[in-house]
Amino acid sequence: MREILEVLDVKKTYYKGKQPFMAVNGLSFSVGEGECLGLVGESGCGKSTAARIITGLEKPDSGSIRLEGREIREAGRKEWKRIYSRVQMVFQTPQDSFDPRQKLEDGIREALCNQGMKKREAQVRIRELLEMTELEAEYAGRYPHQVSGGQCQRAAIARALAVSPKLLICDEATSALDVTVQAQIVELLKKLQRDTQMSYLLISHDLALVQAMCDRVLVMYQGKIIEEGTPDEVIRSPREEYTRILVDSVF
């Protein structure tokens, strides 16, 4: 299997005043083409920081990140624009991930127009995307606070898919939704993977979700990967003490 994303020994330290805090401490993993990789761990273990580093929202202190074999750590502004046509992210809080003063479709259009699409073509593509994400077109003309969390998350997924990315990072994409809506979004993500063959990096603290979707799962603790395997392996027979505690706390 070819690797789409390789993360090698990435470190990131935050400072609270003078107190250093190692959010990500020597993180290494890779995502294969078409693979669905789960990244689990408790709150504050550095999962979200990892996502922000991969998407360039945060700069790592050291380490290397390769996307389709190309180092992106020192990418310039133009380079990032290209990278964002390969990697996209879906955020935890759907309503906050849309500008409160813009309609949902404006957010999707922005992504399309930034890739050089004309407004009229974009309109057609938006309709396709809404169909793909099973969101009725009527809702796309509303503002974020006028739709439900599930509808908003569908729009967010549509926006992420606008550029046909190779890798979709879902940072707790279902945690803010209630259980039935969660299930619908998971179904949608599964269906999209079947249709588009893109890779997923699924960041979550929800082991059941990971078990339902992922081919492989990484357990992260204090900024590092401490265990790796198929979801069944990790959940049935955890090798590390921490993983066992994490699994026991859910099941």
Partner: protein, 276 residues
């Protein structure tokens, strides 16, 4: 909410009326506000001159109407200038951050720490009299307030997921600032600007009263009050007319500002949810 809206429209209508009077002042005045007629000096309000005449026999009503143009429009100009410059500086600093941000903010601290009117008097004194110089002097001391406000608002929403999402959509910094950040901070900025119109009018009138704003014979409420103050006991209408005009106008703008805030603010605040 509905009552607030009605109040807003009523106040807006009154303010527009005032602006209309100011705009068409030259056509509305009953007499020439600059024509001196010493034989008619210091006449009490009465039939010929509704608000009396001043020391040079100029019709007070005409001068008050004419003065509205100077006072209101210079206040609006001033507020526009400080809102635009202050907000731009705040946007830039908040978005960019770093050393330049700290440096500019320390400068704005200096301005904020200094007693404003004293500084304005100093600036106006150096630049010389004239209404434009008064506006410049007051703009120099008033922009930091807007810079601070805009900056704090930017800091509040700059880390919001929708900004990150816009970045991931491929938008550059400039586009994000102008199409996502600016529209989201505009509410509080506009409210503050509206509230400031009254204050700024007072300060312009204050500078004119001290002889550092509008130069005679230009009709301006502050300077009219100043020239009438020696006759406060003998012919109070000379100072009362422009004084009441300032009072009513400033109050109207303040009420408008308050109402705008009440109508806009509750929904305006962009809720910021911490990400994990």
């Amino acid at each position: 909410m509905r009552r607030q809206k009605v109040k807003l429209y009523v106040l807006l209508a009154l303010v527009l009326m005032l602006l209309g009077i100011a705009a068409f002042a030259p056509h509305l005045v009953p007499c020439d506000p600059y024509e001196q007629n010493l034989s008619q000096a210091l006449q009490a309000p009465g039939r010929g001159h509704l608000l009396g005449t001043d020391r040079y026999g100029r019709d007070m009503l005409s001068r008050v109407i004419m003065g509205s143009q100077t006072t209101i429009f210079s206040a609006l100009l001033l507020v526009a200038v400080i809102t635009v410059t202050g907000t731009s500086v705040g946007l830039f600093c908040g978005w960019r951050g770093g050393k330049l941000d700290s440096f500019i903010m320390r400068i704005s601290d200096i301005f904020l720490a200094f007693p404003g009117m004293v500084f304005a008097i100093a600036v106006a004194g150096v630049l010389g009299g004239g209404i434009l110089n008064a506006v410049i002097a007051l703009a120099c001391i008033s922009w930091p307030k807007f810079a601070r406000l805009a900056r704090s608002q930017v800091l509040m929403i700059k880390d919001a997921p929708f900004v990150a999402a816009a970045r991931l959509s491929g938008s550059g910094g400039t586009k994000i600032v102008f199409s996502h950040i600016l529209p989201n901070i505009l509410g509080p900025v506009l409210v503050t600007a509206t509230l400031d119109i009254g204050t700024m009018m007072m300060e312009i009138a204050g500078l004119s009263f001290l002889g550092l704003g509008a130069m005679p014979p230009i009709a301006e409420w502050g300077s009219m009050m100043s020239s009438g103050r020696s006759m406060l006991q003998t012919s109070p209408w000379v100072i009362l007319a422009p004084g009441c005009a300032i009072f009513v106008t400033v109050m109207l703008f303040n009420l408008l500002g308050d109402t705008v805030r009440d109508v806009m603010d509750p929904r305006q605040s962009v809720q910021h949810v911490d990400r994990r």
